[in-house]
Symmetry: C2
Subunit: 294 residues, 2 copies
Amino acid sequence: MRENDLIRELRAKLRDPEGVLGIGDDCCVWTPGGTTCLSVDAIVEGRHFTSVATPAQIGRKAAGAALSDLAAMGARPVGAAVTLVCPGRWDAAAIMDGLIAELARHHCPLLGGDTCGGDALVVSVTVWGEAAKHRLLKRSGATPGDLLVVTGPLGGSLASGRHLAPQPLLAEGAWFAGHPAVHALMDLSDGLATDAPKLAEASGCGCLLLPAQVPVHPDVPEMSDTVRAALCDGEDYELLAAVAPDQWPHLQLAWPFANRLCVVGWLIEQREILMEDRAGRVVPFTYKGFEHST
Amino acid sequence: MRENDLIRELRAKLRDPEGVLGIGDDCCVWTPGGTTCLSVDAIVEGRHFTSVATPAQIGRKAAGAALSDLAAMGARPVGAAVTLVCPGRWDAAAIMDGLIAELARHHCPLLGGDTCGGDALVVSVTVWGEAAKHRLLKRSGATPGDLLVVTGPLGGSLASGRHLAPQPLLAEGAWFAGHPAVHALMDLSDGLATDAPKLAEASGCGCLLLPAQVPVHPDVPEMSDTVRAALCDGEDYELLAAVAPDQWPHLQLAWPFANRLCVVGWLIEQREILMEDRAGRVVPFTYKGFEHST
């Protein structure tokens, strides 16, 4: 399909929100309501999915993973734009349908894009949003003593195919942003083993992780090293929050969502990554999460 | 280079503007000054450049082409984010250096990004900005009778290699936005033959083009069909403005830039694309510009 045909088809399907200029000009145009946050997130054939995935799944994954970055700030989506590099063997319109449906499910209009051919499929999604609850939650707001809390079970995402349908936890992120006891927030895309140290580093802290406390997703096969899977598999898209310890019981009681919050560690003053081993001793952290290499 | 190493290196090089959160969190965060416009623009190995180009040239082209979309709205840049899909044979850091240098030349901070490996190099740049002169110029503001004016000579961009160093005409775009006689604006990326009809269509008009009046770039070889090259080659990144005809002499006199403005046609009520042939007769437009196919 030629670029202009695809754009024409999209314009026919999409309706721009009131006062917003969407696809079809040199830029999209909107009037922000205040402080704005933005993220770009790309998925690439052979790295984040294979040709076993359907076009609709790929579009959905690209949108869901990008929106998860807004959830991780406690933001509500305002708009999205997509870059689609699409070889002829892929159905560009079906990818866009999956992407638009996932964006729409989260009330995020697709307002811009660029598309062209290429040898491997790449879907890069830019999303932007505004504070859902008066503030945006950074990774850097945590202090030593804060508890590290996850919103759900981890692991087995790739092997089970769950990674193709990430659930951006926008409502949960907004809820955290409404609670002053929540000091920092991020989403878990590369695995707790990689991501928790990032939050600690951004906050100028270290952390002590509790592998035995990490909730293991039912997708992780029972016969495997389940703790390693929960810590290292990645692509869970659960949220990781740093919570003031004295507020933790209150927060846990007030939490209105189905998934159970779990404490998986805490932040410490020493800038080290430590863990409690099976015998309850504090030792250097030895698990390695997923890291994309170029 | 691993993703985290590249990000660490970039963070060490970049300084976030006052009050802005750049690379390193789930999103970048800034406070918009008003109505905001945004564009994504991608370049792909084998389509927009070949392995003959240097990494720095590729980074520069990606940034320049994206910024040109802000120029086309009369906007000043506020921020940029990049998706870099980079095979191991390319020097990711050198690409980013070229990209950051071009952004910096136009006072545009790099505030976010995503990078991973892949089989073919893709650089997708998201840029956003705000009105440089109280209004943003859309493609859709033109009316029948408006003159179509280009900011410089066209053609020969690909053959000469000029396409690797697009000049985003941000000052010129801002100047147009400050003149109420300018009704619509776009940048010429796919060639006047493709782009002028887009502006006409967006404004609900047709257009009559004057191929004999189109300024031909010195890069176009003299022995070739120079008019066809100027109309169809693409990747010129000059601006195309729709100007109220009664204000044209005034605008031409006031124009403060080195390049000469040239009238290359005008907008008409009939929704047709016409041209004046060499004998001065009005006939259907027969040139075809560049179109990317997926």
